[in-house]
Symmetry: C2
Subunit: 419 residues, 2 copies
């Protein structure tokens, strides 16, 4: 039987008493700080280390953006703002959070296929960059910018004719609601020559959550070719190319961490050899999950321990209302366990348990047939990979439980709690 | 090409101008009342009609309970409270909503595998009925009732050794976190003889969302046999048997509506012939989805109309943040379209469109390759079957959009809006 702790992501360890440490403190201490369970703890030290690793691996001039949708906790955004070169947002709500966190408006890009007029007003009004998704949206932005007497700074988002091979979510290579098909781009680019627009460049997002460095490098190279081909039709020199994201994190035992060096090396080579028409362009990666997922832990307490038909169930006070993806109900075809350990015990004897949430639905599963040290009612369980697409990507109001606490464990600043 | 309107649930029609009517008013009028889109409108007239149909089909003494988790909108709960015989809740939050809606505490049952101590305090303190899920929970309830100096009124939930054949969610027939296995029930029943408990009866929930009357009748018959077998070991006469729910609604074209009369006739026969030991027992059905799903409409406006790789996309201001189940991401293996129509137009020419939400994720699909009248930007689309497991069963905070309005369209009382 393999050691259950082998499933802990790197960056986490136990103290001499076997207690799980998060940012150097026992998990139970964070639960005490929160005053209740369940809760999320985000280790800002791990986020910083990840950003540093990305900077070290990538070409020096590459801009690193944070995709706010991955985790919009205000305290986290405040801590991230000075560490990255921009925020990518997907709604006026996220735009407001981004500016409140101290990110300069011109370093915020707003993408999304269904922007409302009032969202275009907010973005153009504050000087954020619009990632235009269609000819229709360009026309609406034109009207609004003219009415406001403001220039609209825009990227044109292109639906790439290729996909990111093996991505968790494919966002190119066929009919998509995102961006403008490459074939239709020249007409839109011509429209963007209107002086009400400040054309900044292109945005291409080919897929997400990919662990294959070669596939990512391939998609980035294809993106460069695609953009270079369109640049001649652009109304102004391309100042920025947002290359999208796609860098994945390992959720499951069979997953091998992404070879970040390989991605960086390939991108450096491609950028060094890029066509002259992109010679003065800047390039950006937009990373959400890759920066924060592994830094987050969801802590939930065991409420009941019961047997049914020969199987052991550990019933917790958490559940899919905070951890929809971990329950296997968000973009998942076959449910697999996210890594989970007992935060108080690491030694055997071991047992096999089904860890479930507190919701009165069979969908509420946190770990099926997982090996754990013998676990008592009151024990704290730690579900890892909870830093991205956790709280806000879950149906928090389902069954009427109170919201979970979120704590940013920041060794540099003390810890911030957003209740 | 079949008429797109053929997919509208019964109870909905258009006026002479082709506008969809909800509770007798055009959909657009409800959107104007709300002041924005997207929004939910629940037709209380349809809910009343459904309750009346259930009462007419079922044995006269059968209690009809509403499962609050299906839709906990406060205005809806207030309207439902006088129409049903009880509310079933799954958290202290739902318990508070149920009492605030005017339901007497003794008519509220609280089930759920992970009840917190503070939730047991709330339930025992107000005199609600606890549906006990395990021996461990019984022991916690004992301690809390003793401390409060209150008797705890309890049902014992039994994990049935059978499942509801063909149910959308199976909740019996094997190892489950819900209730006590029948084999373990006698020991718990003995424990419940303690005078701190007021033993009321049994709760058995074999499955949900089933359209097969015969399968439901079979499960109800098996439930009666199961409970009759356990009643001899009970510490007091069985005053109430909660038979669970399971009555399904038709989401998809191939679905045939449940034969409610057949369920009622079979249950009447079974109850008339029930064993003497249950002779003085009352029986209850707990219905959530069946009472409210078909009464709800989600209205969302078309923000953009675009083509990609030869396919038409209609991008709306709604999405999976309000309609997770409709997007195919909640307990669904194969995504199928919920019924959707253009609320402003019913006549051709027709076109085939992919209707997507406004979120920047490929998961955000509302209808794939659906036939609609040619649809313009600004048109209002109506997604049906939105009355249950809609707003609160969706990740509302995902991507930071504002909450949708909810309107209870009640011809008897005027309309209530919960913002």
């Amino acid at each position: 039987m393999s050691d259950p702790d082998s499933r802990m992501p790197s960056g986490f360890a136990r103290d001499q008493d076997g207690r799980l440490l998060i940012a150097g403190r026992p998990a139970e201490a964070w639960a005490e700080d929160a005053g209740d369970t369940p809760l999320f703890v985000y280790d800002m030290g791990l986020v910083r280390a990840r950003i540093a690793a990305v900077r070290a691996a990538m070409p020096p001039a590459l801009r690193i953006h944070y995709a706010v949708k991955a985790n919009p906790m205000p305290e986290l955004l405040r801590a991230l703002a000075p560490l990255v070169d921009g925020f990518d947002v997907a709604s006026a709500g996220e735009l407001a959070r981004a500016t409140a966190a101290g990110m300069a408006a011109h370093a915020i890009s707003f993408a999304g296929p269904g922007k409302r007029d009032r969202e275009l007003v907010a973005a153009i009004g504050c000087g954020a960059v619009l990632s235009l998704e269609s000819a229709g949206e360009a026309a609406r932005a034109h009207a609004i910018a003219a009415r406001l007497g403001r220039q609209a700074t825009v990227l044109l988002r292109i639906n790439p004719p290729f996909e990111l091979r093996g991505a968790g979510m494919r966002m190119g290579g066929g009919a998509r609601p995102f961006g403008v098909d490459a074939a239709d781009a020249p007409a839109v680019l011509e429209y963007l020559a209107d002086p009400v627009f400040d054309f900044m460049g292109f945005h291409v997002f080919a897929g997400s959550q990919n662990l294959d460095a070669e596939a990512i490098a391939e998609a980035q190279a294809a993106t460069l070719d695609l953009v270079a081909g369109l640049a001649a039709a652009a109304p102004a020199p391309v100042r920025l190319v947002n290359l999208g994201g796609g860098l994945g994190v390992p959720y499951f035992p069979a997953d091998r961490p992404l070879d970040l060096e390989a991605v960086g090396t390939a991108l450096s080579q491609r950028l060094a050899a890029r066509p002259a028409i992109l010679g003065k362009s800047a390039f950006a990666l937009e990373l959400g999950r890759y920066l924060v997922a592994e830094a987050g832990v969801y802590l939930t307490r065991v409420i009941d321990r019961k047997h049914s038909a020969g199987k052991l169930f550990l019933v917790t006070d958490g559940g899919l209302h905070h951890q929809l993806a971990a329950s296997g109900n968000f973009g998942t075809v076959i449910r697999r366990n996210y890594p989970l350990v007992n935060a108080l015990r690491s030694h055997g004897p071991f047992e096999t348990a089904n860890v479930v949430g507190c919701l009165c639905t069979p969908l509420d599963r946190l770990a099926d047939a997982v090996t754990l040290p013998e676990t008592a009612v009151g024990d704290l369980l730690a579900l890892f990979m909870a830093g991205a697409y956790g709280r806000t990507a879950s149906p928090e109001a389902f069954l009427g439980h109170p919201p979970p606490a979120e704590i940013l464990a920041d060794p540099l600043k003390g810890s911030g709690t957003d209740p």
